[in-house]
Amino acid sequence: MNRGDAVIKVEGVSQAFGVEGDPRRVVALESATLDIARGELLSLIGPSGCGKSTLLNIIGGLATPSTGRVTIEGQPVRGPSPQKVAYVFQENTLFPWRTVIDNVKLGMAFQGVAKAERDDRARQSLEAVGLVDFSDHYPAQLSGGMKQRVQLARALGLQTEILLMDEPFAALDEQTRMVLGEDLSVLLARTGKTIIFVTHSLVEAVFLADRVAVLTARPGKIKKIIHIDEPHPRKSAFMTSPKLSALRNELYELLHDEIRKTLIQPTEAGAGA
């Protein structure tokens, strides 16, 4: 899968907030260059504030970089491209006044899917995440994990080639996110989408990704890219394997100093690992 042609090209992308020379100016991301191959799952990992979400938003066209450019299939990104890119957000962005299925269908309406097609497609994507029985529930009636699965169903329903996931499981407890991670691996292996997955979790990054891009502390730069050579879909056996542990430890080594840099009190380092 790694040898597909580059679908997404990130070329020297930097993002700064504030005016040049202002002491409050924050450089979130510095000259990131990256190719993402068709059908690949790339994880972005790094300490808080390193610009992983910023990079994702730039690729998705929700933010404009200060310098550099992103192309998707050769076309420069100049705003959201809903025909090619679907998002799963960290926060719950399901509309609370709509039922689960109506949320999924509304995404398609925004994207421009013909009305007659929406119902079937919505049911299929809810089926894929195992929530078709909850079609007529409201988001408030679902658990956090279920809401994230509905958000995933909404993104799948858009049938885009690219899926951007911004810490989709960050708000969930560790056990839930591990099981959801397994489900996600199976599901994504089937769809063959190109995916960029932002996460804080070392294990999640290794478990899901073909490649893990490690970012430095702010200003975020791509420090290293690690290849995870393991076929999809990945099962729970991989979760408990020494190979995963070794890769996780390698990631931790890379991140350790970066995390320390972001902490005010060095004595607390490691607590988050």
Binding site: P80, Y87, T93, L106
Partner: protein, 253 residues
């Protein structure tokens, strides 16, 4: 939503109302408060019954209801429109929201003499005061509702390709709707109070007018019967708009 009241809490509420009635009865016994100032409950209720059965209140009731409906309609259209325009950008919100909130704190009833000069003693001045008073909660809540829609919803909709119209109808409006409804409910209730107030100050017809003329004729028990009618009407209006608000919220979950 408010949890359902327990039986005991209902009993206390009922007890307070009964206590007021008993006190009213007690203090108006012979030798108590002058009957011209405060008539006892019995004649008031019999006059209230007459008022309901003879429908003599009908013409005045129609005048007040007409004033109220027109005032609420104007305030709703004007308040929602202006609120929408102000909410369009963060800049206009910063400029106009404090301005509107400041104007809201002016006691609008002080404008009533001016409205009398402008619109006359008839319904015009009552509609003007009702509109003025109802306008502010509507416009302020419209601004608050639309300007505070969760940015994550907007980002999600835009990422899926929503155009401006879809964004407004499918995201902004339903997200802001409960807050706007609260403004409308407040507007409905205080417009009614302001119109009754205006009618008691100076008017040609209406419930307030009726109460004042009965007071001037020293027909105390009929006056109180009409006051009870107005109070019940305020309860009914409150009940109807609260019900509509709850239904509207539920519709949008």
């Amino acid at each position: 939503m408010r949890p359902k009241l327990q039986f005991g809490q209902r009993l206390i509420q009922l007890g307070v109302l009964i206590a007021i009635l008993v006190a009213w009865w007690y203090f108006t016994l012979p030798g108590g408060i002058n009957r011209l100032l405060l008539p006892p409950p019995a004649p008031v209720f019999s006059d209230f019954w007459v008022l309901l059965t003879t429908r003599s209140i009908w013409p005045d009731l129609l005048v007040t209801v007409h004033e109220w409906v027109v005032a609420v309609a104007i305030a709703t259209v004007a308040g929602c429109t202006l609120g929408y325009l102000v909410s369009r950008s963060a800049y206009t919100v910063r400029v106009f929201d404090p301005l509107l909130a400041g104007l809201y704190s002016i006691p609008a009833i002080l404008l009533f003499p001016l409205f009398l000069l402008f619109f006359g003693l008839g319904t015009g001045s009552k509609i003007a005061i009702g509109t003025t008073i109802a306008f502010f909660p509507v416009v302020l809540n419209t601004v608050a509702g639309l300007a505070n829609v969760d940015k994550a919803y907007i980002r999600a909709a835009q990422s899926m390709g929503a155009n401006d119209l879809q964004l407004f109808w499918s995201v902004m409006l339903p997200a802001a709707f409960p807050v706007v409804l609260t403004g409308l409910r407040l507007g409905c209730i205080i417009a009614f109070l302001a119109i009754l107030g205006g009618e008691t100050i100076s008017s040609l017809a209406g419930l307030g007018h009726r109460i004042v003329s009965l007071a001037e004729n020293m027909e105390s028990s009929r006056m109180f019967a009409n006051i009870i009618f107005a109070v019940l009407m305020a309860f009914v209006i409150n009940g109807i708009v609260s019900f509509a608000e709850a239904r509207g919220r539920r519709g949008f979950q």
